[in-house]
Amino acid sequence: MSAATRIAAKDLRLRLRDRSAIIIGIVAPLSLAFILSTVFGSAFDSNALDLQYGMVDLDQTETSGAFLAALNSIEEEGILTLTEFSAATSAEAAIEEGEISVYYLIEPGLEEAVLTPKDFTIAVIGDIDAPTSAQIGTSIAEQFGQGVSTGQLSVGTAAVLTSPPPAPEQIGIWVGEAAESGQSFIMIDVSAETRQLDQTTYFAASMAVFFLFFTVQFGVLGLLEEERDGTLPRLLAAPIGRTSVVSGKAILAFALGMISMTVLVVATSLPPMQATWGAPIGVFLLVVAGVLSAVAIMGLVASVAKTPEGAGNLGSIIAVTLGLLGGVFFPLGQGDDFLSKLTLLSPHAWFMRGMGDLAGGAEWTAALPATGVLLAFALVFGSIALIFLRRRLWQ
């Protein structure tokens, strides 16, 4: 057993006996992941939208029936659920009860308006707190409206472009033809892969990586504590290399981080949380790279701080800032705006991105890009920290 591992093993025993590391490394992330996923899960059902629509058809004609048929075919695709009501009052009551979020009201005269033609309004009444449901409901009615006017717009345009004006018989033929011809466009669905974590796994991963940066502090701050308590000179007087002293603490920090992450991944996979971490090899790579980056960054903090307290405080500020930036509490930025580019400076963001890339049953190799970036973080900050720490021990 080398000097470095002996130092690490001794410290590890001490740290596990003092329950602080267990509280920060395991109890805190586990309980917060559970609370946050319960709270957020209660508010948003995995960001899906349950479209419960109502229909009040007071026109009761072929045209209003066509609208109902259009809605039914969308219902068959599983996009919405439709309930028919005989009167507006019962549909309104259903909204107040929370049974539906939106209803269509078709007053008498729809078919007459289409045939005449004259203006007609389809009313969409939605719960004020469900704006997206109402927006989608409105869009469906608009598409129906566009479909109805297509035929007449086609015939009308042809008539305008014909001189002298066409005979009524010609228009009759066109009306028939226009009704037969289809739309000029088709929308094709492309299903994307999912590279986004579900609610529970998101918070399991985000809390794990957030507290990881505090957990490894118990290791890297050890050097400063030895310095404060006066045991460092004695350690340096022993026949061991200075690098061994530094790497002993780094090994300890790495071990604490790995223990914490492993326990968290296993514990959150079990009931009641049942997080779905992706391919095990990919998760393992991300965890190792994530722990290394945390050790490196917190090591750098320790190397520039004067006292363990100072390092602890500065470390907390950096861990909280990087965590917030990395979206451990809520995702930051939308699309590719400045804020979402800024998040890429945070190892937390890369860890979460890597875990996201593994979601939806991807191969373990999907984790490689994020793992690479995390290792780069570890290499850059770790090297700087090592230079600073060695110089400090020499003085």
Binding site: D18, S20, A28, L32, T38, V39, A43, F44, N47, L49, I79, L80, A113, D119, F120, A123, I125, G126, D127, I128, D129, P131, A134, I136, S139, I140, E142, Q143, G145, V148, S149, T150, L153, S154, G156, T157, A158, V160, L161, G182, Q183, F185, I186, M187, D189, V190, S191, A192, R195, L314, V320, F329, L332, G333, Q334, G335, D336, S340, R353, G356
Partner: protein, 387 residues
């Protein structure tokens, strides 16, 4: 007088610590800013668009989708970026407008527009909104294709006619109206909701984190030394409690003033808002002193403080408004003082209430504070008189 001295000393100790300046004064404002920027004014569903070329039809469709102010529309230069953004959940859906739409349409063929969404989420439902915008642009195109085929006129001339709005066709309009009273009215400022949520989160967090200082005071024997002076236990207990309370008040008043000056946050009736802060800071002080007298190790206390203050804040509606919770979770939320404080702010800010309207909330918070203070006084008395 001695109570004041102990209290002021606690406040000074907190302010001397440089990292506290960050966590107590800078960090809360930064979070309020970020949350306001991200979620303020509601979250609109986001859709991405990729244009294959800048032909007439493609540009019109893109502009039509962008004109919907209930959508957050982002244009992507590269197809892969759009697909990745959908996969990662940064946006809900993506529209690909292929190159050469104009030529395909002019030849009388059907144009194909791809819409990409993830199987989870509500991208598939959002497709209806995109499809409506597309059909508003494509209905005149359909008409122009028909007219061009029937009359032999150039397609683009026919399109000018059909898109001009001069051809009579039944105007089937859709009128949307909303029912009920909005939980979050339009008058709610971008930062209003987040400011109140973060105020209660941080005042409570700072109070609990203060327990570490109390443990240190006990560990270093300062409490014992104070007892050896002609100072009653009652004075020490009240002094320690007042110190935590004063810290909460300083932070709370600072957050209110700073967010009002920086972001014009509306805190409603000032007396009511101040009273919520007074009672809530007292709850925090009680909890902080209780923790400080139960725990022996300040690092353990700090860990538990983080879990308790973030956990209770999340349960109490400081992260997602409790109004959005399921009924069961709303009941759970009201076991936390946070939910009552936030209800009070909601009454003042969203419904223009006055102090009289928030008496129930103030009552519950006072009861919390009272119970916690009695408990903490008892525990602290035990802790500092133990040999």
């Amino acid at each position: 007088m001695k109570v004041l001295a102990i209290a002021m000393n606690n406040l000074r100790r907190m302010l001397r610590e440089r990292s506290n300046i960050f966590f107590v004064f800078i960090f809360p404002i930064a979070i309020i800013l970020l949350i306001g920027a991200q979620f303020g004014g509601g979250v609109e569903p986001a859709v991405g668009i990729h244009l294959g070329d800048d032909g007439r039809i493609a540009v019109e469709i893109a502009e039509e989708i962008e004109s919907d102010d209930r959508l957050d529309v982002i244009r992507y230069e590269f197809e892969e970026d759009l697909t990745t953004a959908v996969e990662r959940g940064h946006i809900q859906g993506g529209v690909f407008l292929p190159a050469g739409l104009d030529q395909v349409a002019a030849s009388g063929e059907q144009v194909e527009i791809e819409y990409v969404a993830r199987p989870d989420g509500f991208g598939a439902q959002l497709q209806q909104v995109v499809a409506a915008a597309v059909s508003r642009v494509m209905t005149p195109v359909t008409a122009a294709q028909f007219a061009s085929a029937e009359t032999g006129t150039d397609f683009f001339i026919a399109l000018d006619v059909s898109a001009s709005g001069g051809v009579p066709a039944p105007g089937l309009t859709v009128e949307t109206s909303a029912l009920g009273e909005a939980v979050f009215p339009d008058t709610l400022g971008q930062f209003d909701l987040g400011a109140a949520q973060q105020l209660v989160l941080f005042v409570f967090l700072t109070a609990l984190a203060g327990s570490a200082a109390l443990i240190l005071t006990r560990q270093l024997g300062i409490s014992h030394r104070m007892l050896s002076t002609p100072t009653s236990i009652r004075t020490i207990v009240v002094g320690e409690g007042s110190g935590r309370w004063a810290t909460g008040m300083v932070q709370g008043v600072y957050i209110m003033a700073a967010t009002f000056l920086l972001f014009r946050v509306n805190w409603g009736d000032p007396i009511g808002a101040f009273l919520i802060l007074v009672t809530f800071a007292a709850v925090g002080a009680g909890a902080g002193v209780l923790m400080g007298s139960i725990f022996k190790n300040d690092q353990q206390a700090a860990g538990v403080a983080v879990v308790l203050s973030i956990g209770l804040a999340a349960l109490g509606g400081s992260m997602i408004p409790a109004e959005l919770f399921s009924p069961t979770m709303q009941n759970v939320a009201h076991l936390t003082p946070h939910a009552w404080a936030l209800d009070g702010f909601a009454e003042l800010v969203r419904r223009g209430g006055t102090t009289a309207d928030i008496l129930p909330e103030l009552g519950v918070l006072s009861a919390y504070a009272l119970v916690l203070m009695v408990l903490s006084a008892w525990r602290l008395r035990v802790a500092i008189t133990r040999p």
